[in-house]
């Protein structure tokens, strides 16, 4: 397998991991909703006496999934900057720093916040390099606008996750939230509509064909 094929397999594996994690989080949300519905209608005073336990258990179940999602995002984000070996090392180091922060402070929240801050810094570098047009960052998509948009929207999500994890009770919550929202929206807009935003575009003729594997 050549290096391009390796990269594509790696990208595909990360995408599948992201989809699976998103799906399991979705499933947890659905089951949590059904449980809350059942509990509220059958257990007397559940909202007063049982809700806190429910939130605790839901957080407990969600935590490893969120951590895994953050790790996958961490693998996704610097993949644009580093080759795979360096990427795994960097991701491992970032995870290690997050774990050390967790152990030192005794708070998983602090560990996650540290990890997200590192991921955010790397993403800022990725966006800067992409805007500058260097050849370093590798993307699955073509076009500088699409790449910059993709970089910005991932930065926006990391920033939003940081707001949720670390800034909920801070005076910086709202300004940081608006920055995260702006990055996400502008980034998504650029990713989705790069062909309409660009001054010079190569328009590819669309071919209507049978879906791949539709004859299976």
């Amino acid at each position: 397998m050549n290096s391009l094929a390796h990269t594509r397999t790696w990208d595909y594996a990360l995408t599948v991991a992201t989809v699976v994690l998103l799906a399991t989080l979705g499933l947890q949300s659905l089951l949590g909703t059904f449980y809350a519905w059942w509990a509220l209608s059958t257990i007397p005073n559940w909202e007063a006496f049982g809700y806190n336990d429910f939130v605790r258990v839901m957080n407990l179940i969600a935590a490893p999934q969120v951590v895994a999602l953050v790790v996958v995002m961490g693998l996704c984000v610097p993949k644009r900057l580093l080759d795979r070996t360096a990427l795994i090392v960097v991701s491992g180091v970032m995870l290690g720093i997050g774990l050390v922060a967790w152990v030192i402070t005794g708070s998983m929240q602090d560990g996650l916040a540290t990890y997200l801050a590192l991921a955010g810094l790397i993403q800022v570098a990725v966006v800067a390099l992409t805007v500058a047009g260097t050849r370093g960052p590798s993307y699955m998509t073509e076009g500088r606008l699409v790449k910059t948009g993709s970089g910005l929207l991932h930065l926006g999500f990391i920033a939003f996750a940081y707001v949720v994890v670390a800034l909920q009770n801070s005076a910086f919550m709202l300004p940081a939230f608006w920055v995260a929202t702006l990055l996400t929206v502008v980034g998504t807009l650029m990713s989705f509509y790069a062909d309409k935003l660009a001054f010079r575009t190569r328009v590819r003729a669309e071919v209507d064909r049978p879906l791949a594997g539709a004859g299976d």
């Binding site: 992201t18 979705g26 909703t33 809350a36 509220l40 909920q168």
Partner: protein, 321 residues
């Protein structure tokens, strides 16, 4: 104005809305049946385009009537402090809550349908069925013209009666509830961005769902592209709207149990499913991947419907029961 005269004027306003709006509310299920008939009978499908345009125009006229009703309500619905007797503000009731939710969704789908160009002929029958369901739901369940804003009016009339009772403690309690609702619910900037952004997204997702069904039945890539383009259009306001819900929840539900509540869970699930769909579609050219993409798209829309219904069934923060 005294609380009694305010209540009398609002009651008269509701009566006027009912008189003007009742024909429209009757017309909606009739129009719904007609749309389904046009969608189902192949020979009549040519009339679907004009019928949808006419539906959009009629629904817009109804929306204008509702906008007038809300404007008059804003002029009348003052909140006065029992302590100082000063007006603390007016209630700006948005046009997309309570009895008007399904109506706004129907209007959104109708307007989007007018602008559909790509695969217009193929998409319109499916869109018409969804529009018909929404219109029938708005007429029979929402009743925006004959039974408008039951929760708001119930609370506001309760507040007026408490103000008139002469009991200071009761008036103060009702005032605090009303003023809290005014500041953190009706008049907050989030209320004027979060729900409309989501309704617009729901409209585009409905169109994408129809295109996905065509993709599954006809197995052509162009339907997949159409489905993606509608999701793409809706995903941006959807994400922005969802994000805006976060600081609003922190501000409005301070001290309340809203994390992992029914509607919040379902909304998170909806967002992760559409995000998963967009990720999976990056590999649409892989053999067989279209099946996963279609499954995610269909599951996402079904969850959208469940998310909407959850607010009426599952108790907790963000529920209407």
């Amino acid at each position: 104005m005294t609380p009694a005269t305010i209540q009398a004027e609002i009651t008269a306003l509701i009566g006027t809305l009912a008189i003007i709006g009742t024909p429209l509310q009757v017309l909606m299920p009739v129009g719904a049946v007609a749309l389904v008939a046009l969608a189902v009978v192949p020979a009549w499908r040519r009339a679907l385009g004009p019928a949808i345009t006419a539906t959009a125009v009629v629904l817009l006229a109804g929306e204008a009537l509702l906008a007038w009703f809300h404007w008059r309500l804003w002029e009348l619905a003052v909140v006065v402090s029992p302590e100082t007797g000063a007006i603390t503000g007016r209630v700006a009731v948005p046009l997309w809550i309570e009895s008007e939710k399904l109506y706004v969704w129907a209007l959104t789908v109708a307007l989007l349908a007018v602008f559909v160009r790509r695969h217009r002929e193929e998409l319109l029958p499916g869109i018409s069925v969804i529009l018909a369901i929404l219109m029938a739901g708005a007429a029979f369940w929402g009743k925006p013209f004959t039974e408008p804003l039951p929760s708001f009016l119930g609370q506001y009339f309760g507040y007026l009666q408490a103000m008139q009772s002469g009991n200071f403690g009761m008036a103060m309690g009702a005032y605090q509830g009303m003023e809290g609702a005014r500041q953190f619910y009706y008049n907050t900037v989030y209320m004027w961005i979060h729900p409309p952004a989501l309704f617009f997204a729901y409209g585009t997702f409905a169109l994408s769902f129809v295109a996905t069904l065509l993709m599954v039945t006809r197995r052509r890539s162009s339907f997949e592209t159409t489905a993606y383009r509608w999701v793409r259009l809706g995903y941006i306001p959807f994400t922005a709207g969802m994000l805006l819900g976060f600081p609003w929840a922190i501000m409005a539900w301070q001290g309340q149990s809203w994390w992992w509540s029914g509607k919040v869970n379902m909304s998170i699930m909806l967002w992760v499913l559409y995000t998963a769909y967009l990720h999976a579609r990056l590999y649409i050219r892989k053999p067989g991947m279209w099946k996963w993409v279609a499954a995610l798209s269909i599951a996402s829309f079904l969850v959208l419907l469940l998310t909407y219904l959850a607010t009426y069934v599952v108790p907790g923060a963000h529920s209407y029961i």
